[in-house]
Amino acid sequence: MSGFNKVVDSYEEAMAGLEDGMTILAGGFGLCGIPENLINQVKSSGVKDLTIVSNNCGIDGFGLGVLLEDRQIKKMVSSYVGENALFEQQLLAGELEVELTPQGTLAEKMRAGGAGIPAFYTATGFGTPVGEGKEVREFSGRSYILEESITGDFAIVKGWKADKFGNVIYRHTAQNFNPLAATAGKITVVEVEEIVEPGELDPAHIHTPGIYVNRIIKGNFEKRIEQRTVRSN
């Protein structure tokens, strides 16, 4: 069954083939469910002029934020980029291009990209700056804008458990954009907390079927918390 064994042993191998100017789709919401080590591998690889598609851009010094330090990112496609001083600085200096995309549209663009849907209509953003320059069309008397799908040269994904065939499950809300990014990468790399044997995951519980996944690697994760909120007792 070597053909379906997608486990790789090093992060170099996991990101082999990454080149300057490529587009990377990254899972995660804020710092939750981000592919920490794959991001660090992108950093250490030194590739430049990247287009990164991710809901957020991490924070200063952690997550995708580390790719700003050596100006590896040419363009970000995100819904929310707050909480990041270096980001704002590069943006205001014109060193970074940003395509702000509504969160639901971003999720659907990735899903559509993976599903062979080149474009879809949505009411989200109609009449706002997001809709400028986009085709407007009425359906049942309501106005919608045309949004094109997104695919990437690489998708970098953080899962909880994967079997060797690349079937992945996510833990709690660390799911977020991960299964969507996973469908839309030419090469999809998933780093997980645990690798199990095929058959150990219930077929009905699998979030990302292995057909979407090219490489699996086991990592260790810091899982930094952005806002630790607790209740007493």
């Binding site: 980029v81 639901g104 989200t124």
Partner: protein, 218 residues
């Protein structure tokens, strides 16, 4: 007197109905969860992929993998479900959420809302707000009626880049509860002790004042 943040939340909570699925934005809207009437149940949707958001965790139960859309650590309520961002926004865009509460910088008489960007000053991004206002039928915008400098935020035409066009029908400010219809704000309720004159004074957009405008009771 102008409503406190808590009073705004209390008034919004009265719009809740038993069995409502509700999305609460960051800030004052989040407080609404504290004032759900005892005799009803609502389920909170968090757009990062959680339906059935519970309270914050106890200190020993904090889990980095369990957060809400405000990136705060939370818990899952009994009967919760967890899913991808695409599924989450399918719910939102598809109009399945019964009530959405969110803040804004400005609203206008056409139901336009501006809440995500102040040119040359603030560009954090729209997050899920554009999807929320486009997807929901039932939205309550909570905001202060005027800026610190006294400039009205209820306008004839929003001056800031829009979050959504023609989608807002209800606004609750610290001074009044208003509905938007036929190109005007309709004053439905006022904060206790706040005069109709003050509201008129602080409302730039066309305002319709019925003969009787009850005070909100607490």
């Amino acid at each position: 007197m102008a409503l406190s943040r808590e009073q705004i939340a209390i008034r919004v909570a009265r719009e809740l109905q038993d069995g409502f699925y509700v999305n609460l934005g960051i800030g004052i809207p989040t407080l609404v969860a504290n004032y759900v009437p005892d005799n009803i149940e609502v389920m909170l949707q968090s757009e990062n992929g959680l339906l059935g958001m519970g309270p914050f965790p106890t200190d020993d139960a904090v889990d980095a993998d369990m957060i809400n859309a405000g990136k705060q650590t939370v818990t899952a309520a009994t009967g919760a479900s967890i899913f991808s961002s695409a599924e989450s926004f399918a719910m939102i865009r598809g109009g399945h959420v019964d009530l959405t509460v969110l803040g804004a910088f400005e609203v206008d008489v056409l139901g336009n809302i501006a809440s995500w960007m102040i040119p040359n000053k603030l560009i954090k991004g729209m997050g899920g707000a554009m999807d929320l206002v486009a997807g929901a039928d039932n939205i309550i915008v909570t905001m202060t009626h005027a800026s610190k400098h006294g400039d009205s935020k209820l306008l004839n035409k929003c001056s800031l880049p829009l979050t959504g066009a023609g989608c807002i029908k209800k606004v609750l400010t610290d001074l009044a509860f208003l509905e938007i219809a036929n190109g005007a704000f309709i004053l439905k309720e006022r904060a206790p002790g706040v005069s109709i004159e003050e509201i008129m004074d602080k409302t730039e957009g066309k305002l319709i004042v019925p003969d009787f405008v009850p005070e909100i009771e607490f």
